[in-house]
């Protein structure tokens, strides 16, 4: 009677997630597009002209990859954290918990939803950037894979945040106090060559720094870091976060009493 029920359940979750963020596109798709275009205009065009070159490129070209990554990171994270938390809050998460869906399918569904939103916004921002900068692609494989993996990492992070969140404050604390600073200090707007030695080393402890630089490498072909190491680190993050999510789901943290 059933085709593979797990596949159907997965599709159902993804469709529901996409329906959610497109239904509220004024809150989900539009704001990042506006913010990022302001960055393009202000930092790229107005201020950027006076800065001259950064890391060997026009300032605009330098920041575009970072801004695209910023959009992907923020949107992947915020989609999963808001959606899963609001399901908890409205108790509609019970619809999933009573159904015969393995935990990894539940997790994959939400993660896929977060990635679809992250990548959608990333794509819109990329298309917009074409009006401001003239970007080629140095390595398509590296560019695409680093975006996918980064989006995956932050979707998983958003899920963990949602599991532990008890109120609406709890879903904005991490994005505001952790993610945003790490993104801004992650070399989106400057090359770490500009930093004094101490901060240069400190920056290398920031995972987002590696993601942004790897993406920039994929597009421009230059980077402050070792790309192989960046991929290794991304994979490690994914394994640890995925394991953590599955463990939390199995324990029923935040969802079963």
């Amino acid at each position: 009677m059933f085709s593979d029920h797990r596949l159907v359940a997965f599709e159902t979750i993804v469709i529901k997630e996409v329906r959610r963020f497109t239904r509220i596109w004024l809150q989900t798709l539009l704001p990042p597009v506006i913010t990022i275009s302001l960055y393009f205009v202000i930092f790229g065009n107005l201020v950027g002209g006076r800065i001259g070159e950064m890391g060997g490129y026009r300032y605009m070209e330098f920041i575009v990859p970072g801004l695209i990554m910023m959009a992907v990171i923020q949107n992947s994270y915020s989609n999963v954290v808001s959606s899963f938390f609001s399901q908890k809050f409205q108790r509609s998460v019970e619809e999933l918990l009573v159904a015969p869906i393995p935990n990894y399918v539940i997790l994959s569904g939400y993660i896929a939803g977060g990635m679809v939103r992250g990548l959608c916004v990333g794509l819109i921002v990329t298309l917009m950037s074409l009006f401001f900068a003239d970007l080629g692609i140095h390595s398509l494989l590296i560019t695409i894979s680093v975006v996918l993996l980064t989006s995956l990492v932050f979707s998983l992070g958003g899920f963990i945040n949602a599991v532990f969140a008890n109120n609406f404050d709890d879903i904005s604390i991490i994005p505001t106090f952790v993610l945003t600073p790490l993104i801004y200090l992650g070399g989106v707007f400057y090359s770490i060559e500009l930093l004094p030695p101490f901060w240069r080393v400190a920056s290398q402890l920031n995972p987002i720094f590696y993601m942004v630089n790897t993406f920039r490498y994929g597009i421009l072909g230059t980077s402050d870091i070792d790309v192989a190491w960046a991929f290794t680190m991304l994979c490690l993050f994914i394994i640890v976060l995925y394991g953590g999510c599955i463990w939390l789901l199995r324990k029923g943290t935040g969802v079963r009493s």
Binding site: F2, A9, Q87, Q90, S92, L97, P100, S257
Partner: protein
């Protein structure tokens, strides 16, 4: 008889320290219409939560159609549909989407999911509302939507936690008919309710839970047979001047206000004997009613009994 659900020594203590279930054992046969009764806080919803895996138990076993819920997760969940006491759907989704999405969670391919949603939304009178946001439904409609949602994968066992709370009388009756119909068609039903008349109308077997323990588990027939006293209020056409005080074996009559008399019958005495006795006093009875639902009286006496035992 195949057993739809059997639980043994079910225990739950919540993180807060509340012992909600103190070792419950219960069997409900396939095809049964079973009532789970008990006062507020007795542990009914906790029991249902455990069966549907939303609450993790701290002890005991649960089997659904003979299968252990721990080792046969997929099949036991497929066999079970639950209508919860509290609203638990996304308020922003459309009615049709809520039901169809649930079908998808159970693995129903899209076409079948759409057919089933339509079938049950129609049966529950919500098809016209399918494109409305679910938060825009009235309270009774929300309950019916949750019934449609619980049935969309056509479970063999349907558990409803106070499905008729806050539902108007007409709708309640049509919900009863609906539940009787799917029960006749083979679905085993367990329901909790605070309307004892509802349990009397619908259910063949009952259990009463109080303070996390089962204090009665019997058939509705046997329970009603145990009730051998009936109390009625009789209304006279004229003002009652004198006291009425009759105490015969099996019959007692007492004036309770200017126009009414309480009649308590037991040991097989019938209401005619009460009316005849009053007639002899020149009192004419123009109407009568049950003093209270008989089941309610029994229920209250059981709960009081349990309280005394418990100290």
């Amino acid at each position: 008889m195949t057993v739809a659900i059997s639980v043994s020594n079910l225990q739950k203590s919540y993180a807060s320290g509340t012992m909600a279930l103190k070792g419950i054992s219960l069997e409900v046969g396939q095809g049964d219409f079973f009532a789970l009764l008990g006062p507020n806080g007795a542990g009914k919803s906790t029991f249902i939560g455990i069966v549907s895996t939303l609450v993790t138990r701290t002890g005991g076993k649960v089997r659904v159609f003979g299968r252990d819920v721990d080792t046969h997760v997929y099949q036991t969940k497929l066999d079970l549909g639950v209508v919860p006491q509290e609203i638990n759907f996304s308020q922003f989704e459309k009615v049709g989407d809520v039901v169809r999405t649930q079908a998808g969670y159970y693995g129903l391919p899209r076409k079948l999911a759409a057919e089933r949603s339509e079938k049950y939304l129609r049966q529950l009178g919500l098809w016209e509302k399918r494109n409305d946001r679910s938060r825009a439904l009235s309270g009774g409609m929300k309950r019916r939507m949750m019934i449609a949602r619980a049935l969309v994968h056509e479970p063999r066992l349907l558990i409803l936690d106070e499905p008729t709370a806050g539902v108007d009388i007409e709708l309640r009756r049509s919900m009863w008919d609906f539940l009787l119909e799917i029960n006749r068609a083979g679905t085993t039903i367990i329901l909790t309710t605070h309307y004892l008349e509802e349990a009397e109308q619908l259910c063949r077997n009952i259990a009463i839970i109080d303070e996390g323990r089962i204090i009665e588990n019997t058939s509705m027939k046997k329970l009603l047979l145990e009730l051998d006293t009936h109390a009625f209020i009789l209304d006279s056409d004229a003002m009652l001047e004198d006291e009425v005080n009759i105490d015969e074996p099996g019959l007692s009559l007492r004036k309770i206000d200017s126009h009414s008399i309480e009649a308590v019958l037991s040991g097989g005495r019938d209401i005619n004997s009460a009316i005849a006795a009053l007639d002899r006093l020149g009192i004419r009875i123009i109407s009568m009613r049950n003093k209270a639902n008989r089941l309610e009286q029994l229920f209250l006496s059981r709960l009081r009994g349990n309280g005394e035992e418990g100290g």
